[in-house]
Structures are given as structure tokens and as C-alpha cells.
Symmetry: D2
Subunit: 245 residues, 4 copies
Amino acid sequence: MSDEIREALEKIFSADSDVYRQRGFQRRVGFGERPAQIHIDLANAWTRPGNPFTCDGMGTIIPGVQRLLAAGRAKGIPIVYTTTAYAVTDGPSPDMGLWHHKIPVEVLKLGTDAVAIDERIAPEPGEHVIVKKHASAFFGTNLASMLRAAGVDTVIVTGVTMAGCVRHTVEDAIGYGFRPIVVRECVGDRVAGVVEWNLFDIDAKFGDVEPLETVLDYLEGIEPFSASPALSAETTGAAAETGRG
Amino acid sequence: MSDEIREALEKIFSADSDVYRQRGFQRRVGFGERPAQIHIDLANAWTRPGNPFTCDGMGTIIPGVQRLLAAGRAKGIPIVYTTTAYAVTDGPSPDMGLWHHKIPVEVLKLGTDAVAIDERIAPEPGEHVIVKKHASAFFGTNLASMLRAAGVDTVIVTGVTMAGCVRHTVEDAIGYGFRPIVVRECVGDRVAGVVEWNLFDIDAKFGDVEPLETVLDYLEGIEPFSASPALSAETTGAAAETGRG
Amino acid sequence: MSDEIREALEKIFSADSDVYRQRGFQRRVGFGERPAQIHIDLANAWTRPGNPFTCDGMGTIIPGVQRLLAAGRAKGIPIVYTTTAYAVTDGPSPDMGLWHHKIPVEVLKLGTDAVAIDERIAPEPGEHVIVKKHASAFFGTNLASMLRAAGVDTVIVTGVTMAGCVRHTVEDAIGYGFRPIVVRECVGDRVAGVVEWNLFDIDAKFGDVEPLETVLDYLEGIEPFSASPALSAETTGAAAETGRG
Amino acid sequence: MSDEIREALEKIFSADSDVYRQRGFQRRVGFGERPAQIHIDLANAWTRPGNPFTCDGMGTIIPGVQRLLAAGRAKGIPIVYTTTAYAVTDGPSPDMGLWHHKIPVEVLKLGTDAVAIDERIAPEPGEHVIVKKHASAFFGTNLASMLRAAGVDTVIVTGVTMAGCVRHTVEDAIGYGFRPIVVRECVGDRVAGVVEWNLFDIDAKFGDVEPLETVLDYLEGIEPFSASPALSAETTGAAAETGRG
């Protein structure tokens, strides 16, 4: 993006921020106490060259995600990756739904290397890889339920694309009752401008956009993640005398 | 229900429980630390005579719910009521969906006294009345999101009907990551047997069926409900320096 | 189930049906024009001996499903199988959510033979295998969206267990706006009585329970399934002149 | 928005479109055969001056929506309005979830004039007003289910705000399997630029942005909306012999 265009965007953002602040938007949702990480579509089709879905900025995004993974693993918080992949890409009932009528999702075949998570940030045992069919990590998946059962209250979001899957995920996250934190250096896209304006919209309305260092500091400060308090105090022994009609 | 039939059901439940226990079913999900109450369809169409939806057992259910409400209000836990009501009951796009092709939901008109919560257990300010269109209190409603945002981990369920809305609500509740507790004396239906066999199925697989006194004891023992810890520590002042690309 | 107990259940069902009919329940939702088949959890853990999840009745269920598959494939309708399987069964954020606190889902490991669809009714290319985490085939999955995109209006349901996944699926199906048809001979469970009473509840309120022969006749009579009319008339060429700001 | 800034945005959109087209994005999803209209948050808080939520452009949006309503009503298609409103705006379990931590939703009180649909485009009997709690018209509501039951395949979307509720609605719509059509002249917002860049993102990935005249022509050309074919052929008489165990 040229300096001239960046300057034009900054001018818009500044004027818009004035309106938002006068009206009480752009508040801070803040960090909670039990975070999870959600890394959106950092699979080879997006992180490596040569695919219609290839994104820019991996030189910054991948090292940033590596640092987040190290910090999150040190505290044992839930780590979730998503990829977007399809098992049935022709015939009258594809699992793409209608999305191939807008974008080339037919190239994202389930089980291929293209949709595997980039090995530079490979999942470890006990971490989650969710295969989604739509933009949001929550849409048509078990993610919200799983995080709720684990007592998660905050989701730290990275990945691609900012104008697609990351944005939809963040909009859903606050709807589902999780505090969304988007890591500024760790999100990307494939065309100019869309990272900037989508971060602007999100920070105004749906989640907090925070620098990587702030998020790393936060992760360093939290308690290690354990089974939620309620779940660690098992209610055994009561089985015999409970319940039925 | 005749003694003879009750005896036959008990015989089935006993044999089935043997199988379930050998195989590791009928475990206890137990109580968490931050409960909400969900009172299903205790509106006049179900609690008063003369409606196709009228249920039995209100002589026990209403006083039980009154005691639960008192105990829950003393601790400030979220209280949720549901009713089932429709704004558009004819034409090609009713908000009943397809359900009137199975049961007479067309009599449940939004805004009528029939679908108002029974005044003996009337909602107080700050409590929630959710108008649902389908059986489960969670289906097509904001309930799971609202409870998650409030940090709820347990749902105490009462109401009617056991074979319909209560059961579907409990199945969904554990799916969404909430511990379902069904209050045995506070659920009902309108035909014989179905309370018993649905409680049996639920206790085997989806939630714990507990006596009213156990639930009241539990409510007496919990901490008062407050904004979830994360939400009480507001992150103010950080607004100026965050976020945008 | 002994004759004596079956007789007791029939007596209850008969009395209950009298009440339901007087009140306008037990209506017929009927067959639509664009059906899909959903075969619930007919994977080896349920269809073969020796697993906590093993069910009865496969001598009838499997041949029935084979006939349905042949009839459905002849018309090209969407065929969906589900299995229930988990990638993370320990630690503080299992993808089982809370369900292992009720039933032994920890034995259902993703990628094992136990959770693969029974080879006697093996999926063919272009058919769908959905890995679900909860009881309903719709819960936390892309199923409703995929069927809607394909223009499906009716779901023909088989599988196990009747008191668990089949029932929850049917309750959800009518909620999502699909006509649920349960094939009487093709559903099963692992303890006595629960097939009967759950079919009774479903037929009263959520979907039609129909004999296999009726469903086979219906499938023989429908038009071959093709891309929905709207989707076959592609709107090409308009791209250049549409849309932006 | 100044000419200079508009020019800068157009320059970005043009460069980005080149990339998108080379890679197979910006396809047309097209119109289906059974549309519904969804008018997002055209209630007084958004359409009239003096509210934090007040939007610009009503001089164009309201007359455009009036024309769409006339055209849609002439064909009897489902008309859906949304508003965003809250019953419980303080205490530990507000129905705002966490959203008031980002934007001033606490001013949107259920039952006030502010959240009533603007009377210039007032709903008529048989039309739907959905009270939502989050950005998308589909999120935590019965909308997708109701439209599915009515056999709808296309959603024509108008309203505000483009950077919030309209965008999230469109992202969800294609996920749920409906073809989203956004009416270019009938969407708005309250700060500069965001209509343009959100329309750009949507048209690239989630739905078609079409001029009002194109949508009016389409509505004029469709068949009158009736109960879906399957639902008009009732399957009566079969009740006696069906179903139960």
C-alpha cells in the first residue's frame, strides 16, 4: 500500500474515531482470566505461495504466532487452530454450501497438504484443529460449546484473512460471550487496505485490537489454566441415590 | 397412572439401570459454582386448566418453583423464564416454522394472557423472559450466549413438558457446556408415564435429576452471584493507545 | 422386553394417545419433495459387539439401512452419516465438553476403527460423514446449513440410539425447518423399552414415525435429486457491472 | 467524505479487485426463486436524529426500502424487520452479554419508541419483527429456521449499520445457505468510508451488492410467494396407521 493511500485511510480513521468516541463507541472489552488462543486458517493454502488463498505478511505473522504459542503453552491454556476444508466439492449437496458461488473454496480439499496447519506452528497433542466450512471459527462447529465447557472467557485471535474468517470469528466471539482480543501483528490478508479497515471496524465495535507485546505480557501474568474449579471438585458418591421418577 | 403400570415401568428402569451401570453410563455431572435457573413454559396455557397445552401437577410444581425462586433470588443468580408464543400463525412464513404440522402451537398467540408467565411465580425486574419458538429454551434464542457472558456453569431446570421442551432444553444444555440439574418435583407433563421415562433417559445420559431439597441445600450453600470476576475488573484507561492498524 | 411389560407400555401409549388426539397433537408433518437421509452413529462402536456403546437390533437395522441407501442412491438424494468421536479426551479442554461426566464418551477416539462407519453400509464418494461431538447430528455441525443450501426439505432418520442421538436429532430437525421422518425398523438402542417410548414421544410432537416400506415407496416416487432449481440457473456475466460503493 | 478520500478508496478497490479476479474471487451468487427481505435495525434510534446510534443517509434509504416493501408485498414474500433491544441492562446477567463493553447498547431499551421500527416503513400484519441482541439478524434468533421452513433461498438485505449488523448478517446468511443480495442504495452507517469498504469486502466474498433497480426488476419477475410446494400438499388421512412402536 502506498504512503499516499495509507495516509488517506488514516485520515478517515481519525475522523471516524472522533464520531465514535463522542457517541460512546470504541470501548475496551478487556482481558478476562481464562483465555484460549484461536489461530484462524494458518494452513499451507494461506501461509505458502502459489494458492488462490495465499496471504501476505507471513514473515511477521508466523514468528508472532510462535511466540504466542510458547506463552500459551507455558500456561496450559486451550490452543485452537482452524482450517477450512471440504470433502464433497461437486454434486447437488457439497459441504461448501453456497460459498463456491463467491470464492474458490473448491480448491480446499479435505486431507490434502494445502489444508494442513503450517508445520512451523504445528499443533501439539491436546491442542485442537477444527475443520470449518464457513468463515467464522464458530459457525457450524463445536467451538463455542467446547470453550464454554472449559470455562474460557477470553479468545486471543490471530490468522487470516482479516476481511473474511478473522472478522467473522470476532463478531461471533463477542456474541457468544467471549472477550475477543485480536493480535495486531498476527493477522493478515491478500489484498491492500483490508487489514487496516477491518481492524478499525472491529476495534470500534466487536473486540480489542492489541499489540503482540501487550498480549504476551498478559499471558505471562495469568494463572496456569486448569480444569475449571467446578469441574475439579467432582461430585462422586451421590450416584446411587439420585434421580429417577 | 395405575399402580400396575408404575410397577411395570419401575421394572424396566431397574433392568435398564443394570445395563447402564455396567457400561459406565448414569454418571453424575454434579453442581458447579455459578448456577442459573431456567423455568420452562410455566405460562398460563400450561399451568391453568382449559388449554390444549394444560399440564398436570401444578399443585406440586408451582410451590416448588416458588421455593426455588426465593432461594435463587437470595443469592442473586440469573433467573430465566421461557414461554412459547407466535406472532404470525398463518400465511406462507409463520414463525411456528413446521411445528404446527405436529402440535397445536397456533393457539399460542404472542401478547395474550395464555402465554404470560403464571402470576404465582411472576418474574421480577432484572429477570429474563425468553419467548421461544421451538422446544428447547436454547434453540433460536440468545440464552446460551447470555449465560456464557454471565459466567454461568450450571442450569437448574424446571417446568413443562417433560417429554417436550424440558427434555430438549436439557439435551442442549449439556451440549452447550452447562451442567444440567433437573428438579424432580418441579417438572410435569399432560399424559401418563412420560415424566418418568424422560427423567430416566435424562439421568442416564444428559443431566442429573435431583430432589428439590438437594437443590435448595445447594443454593443455600453457594456464594452470592456477582458479575464474573473478569468483568468486575474493568480495563479502563487503555483505550487511547490501542489498536488500529 | 417381556410380553407383560410390552403390554403395560401399550396400555400407557393407548391412554396417552387418547389425550393427545383430543387436544390436537399427533398430527402428520408428512413427506416433502427433496429428502436427505441421515444415518446416526451406525459406526462399529454401536453396531458391533463388545463396546460400551454396542446396541441391539442390528440384524434388522443394517438390512433396512441397506435398502434405504439403495433407494436413496437411485435418486441421487444427499446421504449423510454421523459418527461421534473425540480428538482430545483428557486435559482441561476436551472436545467432549462435559459429556464424559454422564456417559463413557472417552472411549470414542477419533481415527479408530470403533468410530468408523460400519462397512456393511459404507459411505460412497459424494456422501457425507459428519463427526459430531454431541447427541444431535445438527448440534455444533454444518448439517443444517449444508442441507438448506441443497434445498432439502425432509430428513429421513435412522440409527442409534433412540433415547439419545436419534431423538435429539429429530427434535432439532423440525426446529431447523426440516420434516423429520423416523424409519421404525431402522432405529435401535441398548436397553429395553426406550425405543418404544421415544418413538411414541417423537410421533406425538416432533416427527412422523413411518414403516420402512412406506419410506421406500416414497423414495421410489420422488423426482431424481438435482441441484436446486435456483442453483442450476447460474447468473453469469453480471459480475463486471455489479456492486461496489 | 471528501473527493480526495473517495478517490483513494477507489484506487484501493480497483487494485484489490484485480487480485481478487485473478484468483477467482468476486463471483456472483445470484438470485434464487424464493426471496425474503430483511431490513436491519431501521428503528428510530438509527433512522432519526439525536441518538448515539443515529445513522446518515435516511433520505435515500427510507424511500428505497419503501419501494422494496411495495414490490415484495405485491408478491407476498416474507418481510422481516429487525431491531436491537434489551430488557435487562444492569446487574450480573444483562441480555446485552458483553456488547456494552464495546458500544453503548445500554440505551436501546426494549419497549421504548427508540427501538420501534420507523413508522415510514411500518410492518404490516403477517410481517416479522425480530428483536435481536447481537449484530447479525441470525445470531441467537429464529430467523434461519423460519426462512428454511418457508422454503426461502435468497435474502435481500437493507439497513444499518453497514460496518456492524448488516455485514454480520450477510456473512451469516451465506453460511446458513441463503443467497445474500445487499441493496446498494439502502444500506448506511454513521461514519465515513465504512459503507464503501464493507460493501467491497462483501461483494468480494459473501454476497452480491446490487443496485435498487436491479432488485426491483427481479422482484417484479418472480412468481408470487406461496406456501412451499411440499407444504401445500398436505398428507392427511395417514394418521391412523402410522408410527408408534
